[in-house]
Structures are given as structure tokens and as C-alpha cells.
């Protein structure tokens, strides 16, 4: 974010990942309503400028809207710690503290979700894997993550094929709950069967290609990096650490929690 360019896809994956984590940590440590709101607005603007703005904002809304609704109902209506009662009906009481608590928690989660979705929707996964293994993460970690992302759409396609094969043999899926549960069972078993069966073969092929070999790895893919990005990452980490340290000192000296 400090680089001044608005398209995050051109940045090193480590830079965007560090930025997302730092933003989440600093906002949480600050624990300030106005600061959270400003960061959230900034992230929204940044998201809107990305090539995949619609997906980022759509996914964020799908996660945040139900969450915000639940928060509002939970704390807006029932907040026994609340003192300033605004409205009261039966066991429920709308309190000022409850509403503010919902607002604070909602903003914090909003920043968290938006920052990380900005990262995941602008990262190219093979680059992330290459960068992480070059930084000493076990190559298997990158494999597990990247392979899951490849298999996910393939598994959806396979479910459709299994269903087609079953319809070709007389399966009629109705709209009722038992009918859909039955269809789920009928299709889940073959999906698992074929995925696990193939994994045995893949394991041996991976071993034959040196997947378990000890020793250093190299990477075909050169991920772009720059002095500015390296500096930005160091600054981001330093500010996150400083924010946490400040919060701890505050707590020890009796400042606000």
C-alpha cells in the first residue's frame, strides 16, 4: 500500500501478505473506532481500484453482511454490561454500550476480512508458493495449499460428471430434503473414492519426481521484488510490532484495555 501503485497484482506476494497482516494487527492493536473506520474506508477504495474489484467486494459482502447482522442483533438487543439503556422491551434492552461494541467488533472484522481478501484475490498462487519455499517454508506446505486450490474446481466438475452418470442410470433428484440428502450421499461417496484412489498414484509419481528429496530446491519462476518492496515490508513489520508493544505498555501502565 505504501508503494503508491494501486494494482496489487504487480507486487511481490510477500509484500501484499505482510501488508494485510500488518493492517489487521495495527488496527486491532489501536482499538480506535475512528482509526478502524478510516482504514476500512481506505481498503474499500483500494479494492474498488483492483481489476477483480467485483469479486473482492462481492466475497467481502457475502462474509460480512450476515456477520454484521448477527453482531447487531446479539449485542444491540442483549448486552447485560450496558448501562445507558436506550430502549427496553421484555428481556431485551438496546444499550448504547451494546451498539458501540457491535460497531467496534464489526469494523475490526471488516478490516480483517477486506485486507486478507485483497491479498488472496490479487495473488498468483504459484508465485506465493515459490516465494514461501524460497523463505524456508517446507515445500510440502506450498504443495498442499496449491494443490487444494487446483483440485477445488476439478472436484466440482467431477461431482457434476458423477451426477450425470447417475442420471444416465435412472437417478431423479427431487426438491425434497430426503431426496437431496440421498443425492448428496450418492455423489459424495464416489467423489471421495476417486479422489483418494488417484491420490495413491499421485503420491508415487511425486516421489519419483523427487518431491521427498532432501536438500535445497530451486525455482523456475523468478518473482519480481525490489528494494522499495523489501523496505516497505520491513517498515510494515516494524510498525505492527511497535503497535503491539505500545498496546502492551499501555495495559501494564494502566491505560485503557
Amino acid at each position: 500500500m505504501s508503494s503508491g501503485r494501486l494494482s496489487l497484482e504487480r507486487l511481490n506476494p510477500l509484500t501484499t501478505l505482510t501488508a494485510a497482516a500488518a493492517v489487521a494487527v495495527i488496527t486491532t492493536a489501536a482499538g480506535n473506532r475512528l482509526f478502524s473506520a478510516a482504514v476500512f474506508a481506505g481498503l474499500l477504495l483500494l479494492a474498488a481500484r483492483q481489476a477483480r474489484a467485483a469479486s473482492i467486494l462481492g466475497s467481502s459482502a457475502a462474509i460480512l453482511l450476515p456477520f454484521w447482522t448477527a453482531l447487531l442483533l446479539m449485542h444491540g438487543l442483549f448486552f447485560p454490561e450496558g448501562r445507558v439503556v436506550l430502549l427496553e422491551f421484555g428481556p431485551a434492552a438496546v444499550t448504547r454500550e451494546g451498539l458501540l461494541f457491535a460497531l467496534d467488533a464489526g469494523l475490526r472484522t471488516g478490516v480483517f476480512v477486506l485486507a486478507f481478501l485483497l491479498f488472496s484475490f490479487t495473488v498468483r498462487v504459484p508465485e506465493l508458493v515459490a516465494v514461501l519455499s524460497a523463505r524456508g517454508m517446507p515445500p510440502r506446505l506450498g504443495f498442499a495449499a496449491a494443490s487444494a486450490l487446483t483440485l477445488l474446481p476439478a472436484a466440482g466438475e467431477r461431482l457434476r460428471r458423477i451426477r450425470a452418470a447417475q442420471e444416465a442410470r435412472g437417478l431423479v433428484v427431487g426438491r425434497s430434503l430426503p431426496s437431496r440428502l440421498l443425492a448428496a450421499r450418492l455423489q459424495a461417496v464416489p467423489l471421495v473414492l476417486s479422489l483418494v484412489h488417484e491420490s495413491g498414484e499421485r503420491a508415487q509419481a511425486l516421489d519419483a519426481r523427487g518431491f521427498s528429496a532432501p536438500g535445497p530446491r530451486s525455482a523456475l519462476l523468478a518473482v519480481r521484488d525490489s528494494f522499495r518492496q523489501r523496505t516497505a515490508r520491513l517498515l510494515l513489520i516494524a510498525s505492527a510490532v511497535a503497535a503491539v508493544a505500545g498496546r502492551v505498555v499501555f495495559a501494564l501502565t494502566g491505560g485503557p484495555q
Binding site: 504443495f143 496449491a146 494443490s147 452418470a165 431423479v172 461417496v189 484412489h197 508415487q204 509419481a205 519419483a208
Partner: protein
């Protein structure tokens, strides 16, 4: 020919869960710079042999091996105990590379380009990027995949995938390449490209061993054949595959070892098969009303995409066998899916016994139209052969209780017997060899006795007994008045078996000349 690079003697090999060995008494030796073949029918243990040679099985979680492997000067004895040598598959593959039947299994699934996929093995060895790039372009040139390097591996066709898998194997410069059914389930164009590549490799320094159930032109080019075979797994006399004969192609084609092994010998099988097919062709009553009719059917996979079918007319009468040929991607499989309602025409209509089918669910049409899919992996989903065939038989609203349904069970057993798999009713579909798996898929179709059989590439991956079973199933179906629509790229087979051969090209169906 300067000496042997790889030699193996398999006294016996048994899978962990099996009572009988899968393979015994086989000796193989691979001369340097040679093209040799191991031939065997379905279930002969040739894939098991390939995996043993590739060190995918011994000393691992696969099973128990007694025997010996020699690679150059290195020799390994296996006695089937815990003290057996544990071979490092990565180090072994640097010398002996293996391309399995299912080429997709060798993909790492973590690379988004073919070039990245080729680099995977090199990256694991820590080879510097400049050298990697050099090796990639060199291997791509050798295997003819220069044009594919930037493609996403998930989008490759069968033939392209097989060549990429071979490229991934030879980029490590192995002394031996083991190719399991390298031409299996490929269209003619893809098969030709793979065959050219495999015939070229010995000259580049890698010996090639082809494992195949068909004595095709690739195997005919081999200098030496090993024929292995045994009884059907699950059959009474089954004791695993063993060596039946060794020799040059000329010697073995003259003898009778191939006939005993279940290997398909194309040039011999078809002339032999013609009289049988003539008998299978029932007389078609041309005045009978069509069983199934397509009227001006158009189809596209979504608005804005090219029409796959453009005004297809087709009428099939009882007892008739219609074959549809055509180049890759001409919409042959799409056409078959129109017949049973898995895909619905965007224009025109499909009529079954004169009635439009547009309002009938695919699951209900299944009673009348049985579809054999091209890839049986997506057609089989149950845990035993019997349950597989019984799926959907009987009352379609009570899937949960199907195996307790007596008549459904009877029909399932009869269908399994019709394809010669009755001895394995309790076995697992995914553990069947390729040919038997295809026959099982066929059994699931004929068990319902549908009025129309729609067969997508029915001959692919069948061995000779399998082809006989297919002929018999088609004959039995037409005899009871069913119609057969098959899609195949084997023109000779189509001409021998069908009453009419049609050609689908550019979405238009016309009589083949």
C-alpha cells in the same frame, strides 16, 4: 545394443490385501537403446510389472516382492521380509522413468503452466534456473510440445497430456522409459504423435519399454516381446500373471501364445471378426417406425459460443446399428448426450417412439436410453461390481434398498455374466484392470435392457475377450429389437459392425462415403 541397462526377475509379487500373487515367474531384461514391448491381456499383471520395474511397489506400501532388480551394476534382492532394500523412488526414476496409464496422475497439480510442470522435477533437485530453461526447451523440442509450454495443464487433451507426461519423465534423462498403455484411449491423431515420440526416443539414448494389451504398430516396431498372462482375477483358476512367451514379434505372431494371452492383434482380429459381425447384424425392418429420432437438433454450450450441433437429423429403427465417426471435437459425445437427455437441444427436438422427450427427466429417460460413457472413471461409483450394476435397477425412488431387491439382483448378476465378470461380483470397480472396467460400465448399460444403446467409443481399452463380449452384447441387444448408436474413431470397426456409418463434421451429420 551394448549390454543390459535394466533387468528384473519376479519370483512372485502379492498385494497387501490379496490372497494370491498378482504376478509370478517373469523375467525381463532391457537392452540399452532398444524399443521392447510387454504384451498381456487385461488383468495379466502387466501394469503391476511396470510398477515393479519403476520401483513404485517394492519395499514400499504396495505389497510383498520376492525377486531381484538389476540397474546397471547395482543389484537388489527382495525376499519379502522387513530387511528388504528400500529403494528411493526419486533416485530410481533418474534412471528408470515410468508413465502410468492415467497420465494425469503424474501432474503435480501445483503448476499453472506446462513449462512449470516440466520444471517440477528439476526444482526438487535444486537445478539452477538457467539450466532448467535449457533442459525444458530441449525436452519440449524432443517431445514436440513446444506449442504447449504456456498452456494450463488442466486444459490439455488426452494426447497432449500423454506427451507432457512423457516429457516430464524424460526431462530427467533416464536410461529407460516404461510406458503403460501409451496409446490407450487416445484419438488417432494423438496416438500417432505419441507413437512417433516413443519410436524416436531409443535413438536419443533412452530405452523404451511399452506395456500394452494390443499388438499395435508401435509394438510391431519393437525388437523383442515378452508375453504375460494368466486367468481372470477372481476366476477359479486364477493364480496371477506369469510369463507365457518371449521372442521377436515375428516369432510370436506366428505362434499361438498371443491367442492364449488375450492380447488384441488388430490386423488378425478384424478379418476374423467379420463373419461374427455379419451374424450379429440382424435384418432391419426399414418400414418399422423409428425408435429414436432427432429432428433438426442444434446445440451450443451457452449463449455466444459456437454451435456444436447444427441441424442434426437422425432416425434409428429397431435392430439397427448406426455408427458415427468424425474428427476430434466434432461433437460426437455431445450428440450422444442429446439422446438420453443429459444435454437438451437448443433447437429442434428428440423423439422417443414418436413422442418428444423434452419434458422427461434424464433419470426417467434412462429406462429407455442407456449411455456408455467414454471414460469409465466417471461412470462407476459403487463399492462392489454387483452394487454398481444394480444401481438404479428396480424402483427408481428407492435407491437405498436396491441390493435387497431380488429381481434387481438377478438382473445385475445376469448382466455381469453377459460380460464375463460374474466371478468378481464382490470386487471393487476401481481395482479392475482397464478392459474389465469398461466391460463393467457396459454391463451397467445392458442390465436395464434399454430400447436404445448409446455407446461412446465402446472399443477403447478393450482387450480381445473384451471385444468379443462387446460384439455379443450388441448382438443380443439388436436381437431383442433394441437400436444401437455408437460413436467411434475406429472406422474399420464401424464398417464391420454397423448397418450405416455416418460422419459428424462441423456439427453436421451426413452419410460417410
Amino acid at each position: 545394443m551394448n549390454g543390459t541397462v535394466l533387468a528384473a526377475h519376479v519370483e512372485s509379487f502379492r498385494f497387501h490385501d490379496a490372497d494370491a500373487p498378482a504376478l509370478h515367474d517373469v523375467t525381463v531384461s532391457v537392452p540399452a537403446g532398444s524399443l521392447t514391448a510387454v504384451l498381456g491381456g487385461s488383468g495379466s499383471g502387466k501394469s503391476t510389472l511396470a510398477r515393479l520395474l519403476a520401483a513404485w511397489l517394492p519395499g514400499h506400501h504396495g505389497g510383498t516382492l520376492r525377486g531381484r532388480l538389476d540397474l546397471g551394476a547395482a543389484a537388489f534382492e527382495f525376499s519379502g521380509t522387513g530387511d528388504d532394500p528400500r529403494i528411493d523412488p526419486g533416485a530410481w526414476a533418474a534412471h528408470v522413468a515410468y508413465v502410468p496409464q492415467d497420465a494425469a496422475a503424474v501432474l503435480s497439480t501445483i503448476k499453472d503452466t506446462v513449462a512449470g510442470e516440466l520444471a517440477f522435477g528439476l526444482e526438487n533437485q535444486g537445478i539452477p534456473p538457467e539450466e532448467m530453461r535449457l533442459r525444458i526447451s530441449e525436452t519440449a523440442r524432443l517431445t514436440g510440445i513446444e506449442g504447449l509450454l504456456e498452456r494450463d495443464p488442466a486444459t490439455l487433451s488426452g494426447g497432449e497430456l500423454r506427451r507432457v507426461a512423457i516429457a516430464c519423465a524424460v526431462i530427467g534423462r533416464p536410461a529407460v522409459l516404461l510406458a503403460d498403455e501409451p496409446l490407450g484411449s487416445l484419438d488417432p491423431e494423438g496416438a500417432r504423435a505419441v507413437e512417433d515420440l516413443l519410436r524416436r526416443l531409443p535413438g536419443e539414448g533412452s530405452s523404451v519399454v511399452v506395456f500394452s494389451s494390443t499388438a499395435d504398430s508401435l509394438c510391431r516396431a519393437a525388437s523383442h516381446w515378452t508375453v504375460i498372462g494368466g486367468g481372470q482375477p477372481g476366476g477359479a483358476a486364477y493364480d496371477g500373471g506369469r510369463q507365457l512367451a518371449v521372442g521377436t514379434p515375428g516369432e510370436l505372431l506366428a505362434g499361438n501364445a498371443l491367442a492364449r494371452s488375450g492380447v488384441v492383434v488388430p490386423d488378425i482380429a478384424v478379418p476374423e471378426g467379420v463373419p461374427a459381425a455379419a451374424a450379429a447384424r440382424t435384418a432391419v425392418v426399414h418400414t418399422a417406425a423409428p425408435l429414436l429420432e432427432l429432428r433438426d437438433v442444434c446445440f451450443s454450450y451457452g449463449a455466444g459460443t459456437v454451435d456444436v450441433l447444427r441441424g442434426v437429423d437422425l432416425a434409428v429403427r429397431p435392430g439397427e446399428v448406426v455408427a458415427v465417426t468424425g474428427p476430434n471435437g466434432s461433437g460426437k459425445s455431445t450428440l450422444l448426450r442429446q439422446l438420453n437427455g443429459l444435454l437438451r437441444p437448443s433447437g429442434g427436438e428428440v423423439l422417443l417412439r414418436g413422442r418428444p422427450t423434452e419434458d422427461t427427466a434424464a433419470g426417467l429417460l434412462a429406462a429407455d436410453v442407456g449411455l456408455l460413457f467414454q471414460d469409465p472413471r466417471f461412470q462407476l461409483f459403487e463399492r462392489t461390481l454387483e452394487r454398481e450394476v444394480a444401481f438404479g435397477l428396480g424402483d427408481c425412488r428407492r435407491f437405498g434398498r436396491r441390493t435387497r431387491d431380488g429381481t434387481a439382483r438377478e438382473r445385475a448378476r445376469a448382466a455381469l455374466a453377459a460380460v464375463g465378470l460374474e466371478g468378481q461380483a464382490g470386487g471393487h470397480p476401481l481395482e479392475l484392470p482397464a478392459s474389465a472396467r469398461r466391460l463393467l460400465a457396459l454391463a451397467t448399460v445392458i442390465a436395464r435392457e434399454p430400447a436404445v444403446l448409446a455407446l461412446d467409443e465402446p472399443t477403447v481399452s478393450l482387450d480381445r475377450p473384451g471385444l468379443d463380449m462387446l460384439d455379443r452384447a450388441i448382438a443380443a441387444a439388436t436381437k431383442r429389437g433394441a437400436a444401437v448408436v455408437m460413436v467411434t474413431h475406429e472406422l474399420r470397426y464401424a464398417e464391420a459392425r454397423a448397418h450405416r456409418v455416418l460422419r459428424l463434421d462441423g456439427g453436421v451429420l451426413e452419410a460417410a462415403d
